[in-house]
């Protein structure tokens, strides 16, 4: 027998392998709500709300269905179909037979509850159109199976509904409570293609009506059977990128290399003037003056160019050096400054030589602390 899994939407619990009749009784008694979900047991089919569950819809519709062919709220699509047929002359009425499910019961023949087959062909029985798929339980409470001419899925124990909590485990005991639809009967219940457990439809008219409902059912099943939409948790990198770019710009702007201004000068000869003189490397001042423009600075800062006094300022010094270079063709300056002259005077001479592109040679002065007579000067040429 077919059993069902029921999902309690309120308690988020699943009860498995429940007979359909037990589901119906639980729904009537309020232990199940219309929002609870159902699906065939041991399958992975989509969950369907009980209010949309076709077998239960059949039960819900039954109290209002009249046995005769006149008392039938016809579904809109069916009504339209019927109207079309009437416009055609009614010749197709025999084919638009819509019947409700026929229940096979062991104790009661199905013929007792259903009109004869020959009558079914002539009558149109349709499910009532419910304005709202609302309170199914109210519908079920209003009338019993006896009030309806349409057979309901019988339980065999309708007088004493089984306790919902005591659903039988043995499926063989519930054969009588199955929803049985004979192949000869027609029903207006829709068939969901995604649910192969639904009863088959044999009537062409019912199939036409069921197509529209089928679409809605499939959409409803899609929207209701799943949980909330997945939220994409992406890390927003915009702020991080902003920070990175700003830091890069900050580094580019502020990362200026600190440079110290300096004058490159030739290295003095590490040898002392005395030892240099011993090795015969010293040259006399007259010899050096043939190659160099001699610039002398005394301890007071007085400057001489080729033994001619010159003002100790940049402009006059540069002018005199330029004139001397042009007259004599010498392209190097020999600085012979006293040991005690301030360092800034020597730098002034360096700067003036750089101004006009003269090479620089530095004569090492004798340290007065040594007390020896001044040896011949030795120059370092750069």
């Amino acid at each position: 027998m077919a059993t069902w899994d029921v999902f309690h939407t309120q308690t988020l619990e699943i009860e498995r392998s429940i007979p359909l009749e037990s589901v119906r009784e639980a729904l009537i008694q309020g232990r199940l709500s219309e929002e609870d979900l159902i699906r065939p047991a041991r399958t992975s089919d989509a969950w369907v709300r009980l209010m949309d569950f076709p077998p239960l819809l059949n039960v819900k519709a039954s109290p209002k269905v009249q046995a005769s062919s006149q008392a039938t709220p016809t579904p809109p699509s069916l009504a339209r179909e019927r109207q079309k047929e009437e416009e055609k002359g009614g010749e197709g009425q025999e084919e638009s037979v819509v019947a409700l499910p026929v229940l096979e019961r062991d104790d009661e023949p199905a013929e007792d509850s259903f009109p004869p087959e020959e009558n079914q062909e002539e009558s149109v029985v349709a499910l009532p159109v419910l304005e709202e798929k609302g309170n199914l339980r109210d519908v079920l409470d209003v009338g019993g199976p006896d009030d309806s001419a349409v057979a309901l899925p019988a339980t065999g124990e309708e007088d004493e509904p089984p306790d919902f909590a005591d659903w039988p485990d043995d499926e063989d005991d519930d054969e009588a409570s199955q929803v049985a639809l004979p192949a000869t009967s027609a029903t207006a219940l829709p068939r969901n293609e995604h649910q192969d457990w639904l009863p088959e439809l044999t009537s062409s008219g019912a199939n036409d009506w069921g197509k529209e409902e089928e679409e809605d059912e499939s959409i409803a099943g899609f929207t209701l059977a799943r949980g909330s939409a997945e939220t994409v948790e992406e890390l927003d990198l915009a702020a991080m990128v902003d920070v990175a770019f700003q830091l890069v710009l900050f580094f580019l702007v502020t990362a200026t290399t600190v440079l110290y201004k300096s004058l490159e000068v030739p290295k003095p000869n590490p040898e002392s003037p005395a030892s240099a003189a011993t090795q015969g490397r010293s040259r006399s001042l007259e010899e050096l003056q043939q190659d160099f423009i001699l610039v002398e600075i005394d301890p007071a800062g007085t400057m001489k160019i080729d033994q001619t006094p010159v003002g100790a300022n940049m402009a006059e010094l540069v002018g005199r050096l330029r004139d001397t270079r042009e007259k004599t063709g010498r392209k190097a300056m020999l600085l012979s400054a006293d040991f005690a002259t301030p360092h800034r005077n020597a730098v002034l001479a360096y700067d003036a030589a750089n101004e006009i592109g003269l090479e620089i040679a530095i004569a090492r002065p004798r340290d007065p602390a040594l007390g020896a007579p001044p040896p011949p000067r030795k120059a370092a040429q750069g």
């Binding site: 900050f250 003095p268 940049m314 400054a337 301030p342 750089n354 002065p365």
Partner: protein, 143 residues
């Protein structure tokens, strides 16, 4: 037809200040860690119109401070404006260490009042180290 209900939520139009605050705090932290307090240097190198720039990380700096009293010897420091007081041997060792580390330039930051002979004596001592170029520290002259 049953469709999923489209929920229209009102957008939050407030400006998110969090990134801006993050940036500000990061910049402040960076500046706090990177700032170097520059004090007034004790050495006043001579002015010059010409000269070349030397990076501090690419040279070994020696400083000659002017004598504290007339006739006294100037103070030699290993470093740029500050550092340990050293003699000629110490300056030579410092330059040797700098050459070993790739700093082949020697900048002698001598005060303008330092005797010229003292500058040349230090320059002659460090010139014993092979492979160096000697620079005299100056500052930009006003035109």
């Amino acid at each position: 037809m049953l469709l999923r209900r489209q929920v229209s939520e009102e957008r939050d139009e407030h400006i998110d200040m969090t990134p801006m605050v993050d940036v500000v705090f990061q910049l402040m932290t960076f500046m706090l860690f990177s700032v170097q307090m520059v004090s007034e240097e004790d050495v006043k190198v001579p002015y010059a119109h010409h000269g070349v720039g030397v990076e501090e990380s690419a040279a070994t700096f020696l400083t000659l401070l002017k004598p504290s009293a007339p006739g006294a010897e100037p103070k030699l420091l290993i470093g740029n404006g500050k550092g340990d007081v050293a003699n000629l041997d110490g300056a030579r060792d410092a330059v040797t260490e700098g050459v070993r580390e790739g700093r082949r330039k020697v900048v002698l930051q001598a005060d303008g009042e330092v005797p010229h002979g003292e500058v040349l004596r230090v320059a002659g001592a460090v010139s014993e180290v092979e492979g160096i170029t000697l620079h005299i520290g100056v500052q930009e002259a006003d035109n």
